[in-house]
Amino acid sequence: MTGSLLFEAIVFLAGAIICVSIAKRLGLSSVIGYLLAGVLIGPYVLGFIGEEGDDILHFAEFGVVMMLFLIGLEIEPKNFWNMRKTILGMGGIQVGGTMLLSYLLFYFLGYDWQVALVISMAVALSSTAIAMQTIKEKGLMDTTFGTSAFSILLFQDIIVIFMIGAMPLLSNSNVESHSDNHSESLSLIDSLPLGFQTLAIILSVVIVIALGRFVIVPMLRKVAKTGVRELLIAAAFLIVFGISLIMELVGLSPALGAFLGGVVLSSSEFKHELESTLEPFKNLLLGLFFMAVGASINFIVIAKSPLTIGGVLIAIIVLKAVVLYITGRVFKLKLDQKLLLTFSLAQVGEFAFVLLSFAFGLNILEQEQMDMLLVITALSMALTPIISIINERFILPKVGTKESIQRPMDHIAKSQKIILVGFGHFGSTVGRFLRSHGVEATVLDQDSNRVDFLRKMGFEVYYGDATRLDLLESAGIADAKIVIIATNKVKVSKAISKIVEEKYPHVELMIRTKNRYDAYELLNLGRENIYRESLDTSLSLASDVLHKLGFRKYTLNRQVKNFIKYDETSLRRLAKEPKREEDYIFKARKELQEQEELLEADFKRGIVDFDNHWDSEHIRKALEKSSDL
């Protein structure tokens, strides 16, 4: 029954759709959904997927490769260079510390020193796939936690090369390997002496960079010229697969190569094309990867010695967590960022699969040890999202409250008239302008490092989730005149808006929104002061364009004001129209339809001619008419 490819595809897709939508409905990360789907369709529950799970895992690793390529695309070489200290420092402490502690642990558990060393290497590496996916999903890439986690993962990607390289030195080489499949999966350069291996590795990195500059970009230009959209998709895949192949040939991690390739291409004009092309494939492949991990959890091995496995699993996670916490401490992360880092990277990652099976091939590990470690790896990955939830729901809120209570009382007593929620690009501009008028807003923000910095700059800042009533209260909402909501997340705006309306109806709300659709939602909640970030700026650009075409500035100035008024009126009119359900597809179609209506109304309005009182032509015509009579 499991033979047909079509059937397998259906099982995977259906599993993903069902489990991920359930996970999402429950407010959980999609990673949990995928893992659960994997367990369900795997050999121990429904049994749809059997032994081929491993092959699928291997195939799905391309998801990880693509993810790193995409991450690379977002990092310009200059920024990459700026991160070198964090990468080496944090990565070094994390990998070194974890290896040392886990080596000692396994050594004292009675393993040979080689085995303990191999296990410690595998344990030191975290899961790029799970961690980065979660970070991206939550939009935390720009926080200190995000960059720290990323730096550590990148360091691991680099160090894994040396680990694989060192592994043959650990084998009791007189024994023939269990299987010879490692020789084909591994590199051309195994036979070379160590010095040449290093040289080959450096050479291959140079090749990737040179390829990016001198082959890939010109190729993409040619492809773009053809205007055939799917060719670009093909080219994007060609790039990722090509880099992976080169990297595998020299025994480097394809993910690392892809990351490098991404960095090289990040300054090219195709950055966004490549991003939008690969993004959906990456997500699906990563989903497949997580499902394969779920399916590979061997419940028979667990059943045999549940206590040992449970014990070792907990020991490893605790050990990794401790090292991560120390790493965060050394680099002076704020408590909440430190906790996020600690819990999001405490799992054993997908590289462990590679390292362990390689070590098994080299006869370092025995079958039993390997089975147990694979199960632990898979379980630790499956546990990560659950641990993160515990952290977010139960630990972080307490930390946040604690930090704001620790503030000296006079800070809280000195309640300000204005509360500003969110101090990103938008909020900070608002805050700066208010401050230049001597109006000090009390700021609420969720990035504790930003909070710290703002406090140094003398702002009244509270750290934490502004949708919590207690935080709003300690920020002095009872005495506030106005609350400015400068976040672009409409969910947050709506939540705050509801709280304020319910508990503090006298407080006026001024809300930034991303676009008309968010504005509708807020208008329908009865909010009046809504500021669309997409309105004024775009009109000021358009008006400057018209000025360059020869229109006069004062006329444009009045026309812009007029257009804003007209658009605000139509916004309020359209907000009242009944909306369909929030289903994504219906919403998207509705938005398109509405864009059409707007354009049509614009067309009917025509090229607006007003201010006739300054138009002598107009008066002349009127005079002529009256004299004709």
């Binding site: 500035k553 300054w614 002598s616 032509e617 008066i619």
Partner: protein
């Protein structure tokens, strides 16, 4: 050659036949700066220092504007209010504009005949322009009679052509030094013989 600054204020130049003709005719003249206020300060946010510097660099200032409700458009009034500062333009230390020359160049919809005690506008243009005249006086400037394009509501193309040519000639004459003695008691600078002859 004297330097002329034309402070031009029209909220909707693109719709003004008379002012377009006048401005386009003189815009390429040497030592003439046309300062289009509604284009420079569409939001009425006048850069006072910049304006003062500009004034210092010129000898003759022309307030060129349509005659709206017996006065100038609001941005020009704003300009006067903001730029002519105490102790810069007037007051004990305010000598920046001393000995400069100043006049209005205006366009009116109504004809010359309606601007008199018997006409429906009751007063003459000269009378309506008194605030400008006194502003110039207070700042120590010599105030010349206005250049006026009148009756623009039914001005023929030929007439308008004559006006614009005369405006150009006036600019040349001003640059080559006209003095108050040239006007005797004229109400309009248009009436000097050098312009009448054409």
């Amino acid at each position: 050659m004297k330097k002329i600054l034309i402070l031009f204020a029209h909220p909707k130049l693109e719709k003004s036949r008379a002012n377009l003709a006048l401005i386009n005719h003189i815009k390429d003249k040497e030592n003439v700066t046309i300062h289009d206020l509604y284009n420079e300060y569409p939001d009425f946010h006048i850069d006072v220092l910049r304006e003062q510097k500009l004034l210092e660099q010129h000898d003759i200032i022309i307030w060129h504007h349509p005659f709206y409700w017996y006065s100038c458009p609001p941005l020009m009034k704003q300009w006067i209010d903001m730029v002519l500062e105490f102790n810069w333009a007037y007051g004990p230390e305010g000598k920046a504009l001393h000995n400069k020359t100043c006049l209005n160049a205006i366009t009116t919809g109504g004809s010359k005949e309606v601007y008199c005690s018997a006409g429906y506008n009751s007063f003459t243009v000269e009378q309506f322009l008194r605030p400008f005249e006194q502003t110039a006086n207070l700042c120590g400037m010599t105030y010349f009679p206005p250049f006026a394009v009148m009756g623009t509501h039914n001005l023929s193309d030929e007439k308008l052509h004559d006006y614009k040519v005369n405006y150009g000639k006036l600019i040349d004459l001003l640059q080559a030094e006209l003095t108050m003695n040239d006007f005797e008691k004229m109400s309009f600078i248009n009436d000097i013989p050098q312009l009448k002859s054409s």
